[in-house]
Symmetry: C2
Subunit: 474 residues, 2 copies
């Protein structure tokens, strides 16, 4: 009996990537692998309740095999994986979602050259529409009556409208994890495409964002395209601190800690942990560090920059090119300042979460300097487990800077001099000031939980007018 | 006696480049050369009145020699050329004005990599401030009492505030010829730099723009930086149609016409005339043409794309790189579709104004597809003298599209398919429809004159409150 608690409606979470990925074991069976951090890890305990369904796309071959089983119990989560035609999915994922919409929302096009909306691209857009329709139909076929449907991110921008047309009983929330492009940037898209995206999102009962800045970009974009925005809400995702703490306490992490401690000796430690991609601003981070080493010869042999950056989306050509630039720059900085006894930058491109968490526990300075970022969980996951009263140097263009500003050193991500001075200030800071900043940071990042973030979406779904998603919303 | 006319106050025009440039003649004397089109040509007759002074920077060595003469009568214009230390000027012009502010206002940074505000850049910024101060002091020393001072463009963003502090009797207008970056883009600049720019411009009695879109970018940018915007006005610059007509009637142009007519034979003629730079979108123009040739083999040997694109700012590395890309793409399209009898693209990188005007008179289609452009005079200069009822294909991101939209084929500059279809539609259009569009276009572009544009600035200066530029303005 649940009569002590307000009844929660059935919940359907829809995302491109699922909360677990599958791999083949030695017997060739598809088994659930480890969780891929971020969104999923914090939500898992909340949706393993028997009233929730998670619908995602089968991405790997093992996912596809698993998808044939229908509903899967994956570590307590009811999961269904959608097997999409690989050609349709490649167009929707690589060309439209990641090479176009992701660049658009992050403001990262090199506009003199990209994007080029040629015939190949327009065919890919047709496949993005097909992909969104397949997802909407899959949700429509599975969602319980009057369920709350939480659609995640830019891969699924058209789902709200399509789903609302199929199932007027559902409350549909769309949540954007990236920044949201303003009106000028939205005008880059082919006109009918921009409008279709806007109408797709406007089909939601409500749309959610990490910060009011991205929300404002969304509403001004929609208005510039002649589309009235739906209700909106701002609810930043929170880190899964207990999950990170569990990893930090684990043996695998302890082994990595020992390795890093041996590497650093008695040097000060600057750490960055990022996906190796264009928004993370890895190049200017190294440039700032080089500027610091040039200004402060006394720091030579006394500081180490450990860059734990793991490749992602290598099927997007811009990402592969960026990786080569990052590697070349690290080599060049090491050649310029290093010697036989000292490598100023250790660049590690292996994807190893226990190692990243080990870096979190040990850093003196955590550098998080994205060009633009919807939120940035690293800026909260690191401080959650750091044991050295480390200082966070944080880009003002990360959504998390909105509420962490008082407890970090904020930088303009394009300003290498300001970033260099912030690294210097962090290294030079006296222990009392460091401890004070670190304590404030931990207090702030623990004031929010993934559960609150999920509740905000459910509340937004519940606020709809009784006439359904087409009705007036507050 | 002037008692029949309202008295016009003394006028000072301040710009980076002067209305005439100087060159050395055979005897080694600095003599005034031909006018560099654009802004200057339409204004010359208006300011050659004895009550106007034009203050500009000595750019060439011959300019510097001429500058030693003090006030110069250059084709009727009273001109003073300011000799600025070349190192200061190179920093202000190349690094801050053209590699930073121009890219910022046009939205053309490749943000994952540029801009990088390193120590070299911050020193250049100090020199931009010095340069603006030198210009402000030069104006302050020369402007008659209570004169109207019209400061032109992004090279001189700090002049209004600096000048207002030196001379509270002056009415100071700043006019921006480029787009103006919105609040998100302004945030790319180092924080103190963005604020100093905003305050510099806010020191004007009024700030003018080609379109309300750029004006809105300006006011939202200033507000986002905590600076209250001054009065603003929108007054698009108009082409100097009589000047273009005079060139078209000249022998030099007739020679060029004959050459182009021989080149084209009985082929249809697509023309573009542009500075060879990143905002003009020359690459996607060729890509669109290639798409057309692929879709329409019947057009092979029956159409010629004459690209008259003249290099500029080759001291900016991005421009030199872009030129190589443009040349490589033209070669590649010609290799793919051309043969011994037919070169689909003729790429001409010589700076020859009579040739450009000859192209204007002859085109069947004029392609003007900038990624972004404050106004774009080519879209009006071409139709002013075209004799073939040619069709204008115009980017919706050009300021001039605001009022030419009804008389051209508008395109999204990133959408190669839409541009290809617009070229096709223009070539296929029947003579009656072409003539109708062309007539409407000529009517529209002749409805404005450079004199009206100048008057709008003078009016904006006159509207100031009597207490001077620091006082409240409407």
């Amino acid at each position: 009996m649940q009569d002590q608690e307000p009844q929660r409606p059935d919940l359907v979470i829809v995302s491109n990537r699922g909360p677990v990925g599958f791999r083949f074991d030695e017997q060739g069976r598809a088994v659930a692998g480890k969780t891929a951090g971020g969104l999923a890890s914090g939500l898992k305990p909340l949706v393993a309740d028997g009233r929730s369904l998670w619908l995602a796309v089968a991405i790997t071959e093992a996912d596809r095999v698993a998808s044939t089983r229908g509903r899967i119990d994956a570590n307590g989560i009811q999961l269904e994986l959608l097997d999409v035609d690989p050609d349709i999915y490649a167009d929707a994922y690589d060309i439209v979602s990641n090479s176009t919409l992701w660049f658009l929302h992050h403001g990262l096009f090199d506009l003199a050259r990209t994007p080029v909306f040629d015939r190949r691209w327009h065919r890919a857009w047709d496949n993005y529409r097909r992909f969104n329709r397949l997802v909407a139909e899959a949700v429509a076929a599975r969602a319980p009556h009057a369920a709350d449907v939480l659609v995640q991110d830019y891969h699924l921008s058209l789902v709200p409208r399509l789903l609302a047309e199929l199932r007027s009983d559902l409350a549909i929330v769309h949540y954007t994890h990236t920044p949201f492009a303003g009106a000028d940037a939205m005008g880059i898209l082919p006109t009918s495409v921009g409008r279709e995206l806007a109408e797709g999102l406007a089909g939601a009962t409500a749309c959610g964002f990490h910060t009011s800045r991205w929300r404002d970009g969304f509403t001004s974009s929609l208005r510039s395209l002649g589309v009235e925005p739906p209700a909106t809400f701002v609810a930043p995702l929170a880190p899964d601190t207990s999950g990170i703490e569990a990893v930090a306490a684990d043996d695998a992490c302890r082994v990595e800690r020992d390795r890093i401690e041996e590497l650093r000796g008695d040097m000060r430690l600057i750490v960055r942990v990022d996906r190796l991609e264009l928004s993370k601003n890895i190049l200017r981070g190294f440039q700032a560090y080089a500027d610091l080493l040039e200004r402060r010869p006394d720091l030579h042999h006394r500081v180490l920059f450990l860059a734990l950056v793991y490749p992602s989306r290598q099927s997007v050509p811009e990402y592969a090119a960026y990786r080569r630039e990052v590697e070349a720059l690290a080599t060049s900085v090491n050649g310029r300042f290093g010697d036989a006894d000292w490598n100023p930058i250790v660049l590690d491109t292996e994807d190893d979460f226990p190692r990243a968490v080990a870096g979190f526990t040990l850093y003196d300075v955590l550098l998080v300097n994205p060009v633009r970022d919807g939120l940035n969980l690293v800026a909260m996951e690191g401080p959650a487990v750091n044991e050295a009263a480390g200082v966070l140097v944080l880009s003002r263009e990360a959504g998390s800077h909105t509420f962490l500003a008082g407890h970090c050193l904020g930088v303009n991500p394009c300003d290498v001099v300001e970033t260099s001075r912030a690294l210097e200030q962090a290294l030079d800071m006296d222990p009392v000031a460091r401890a004070e900043l670190a304590a404030g940071l931990v207090g702030e990042l623990r004031s929010r939980t993934p559960a609150q973030w999920l509740d905000a979406q459910i509340q937004a779904a519940r606020n709809r007018a009784p006439s359904g998603p087409q009705g007036p919303v507050p």
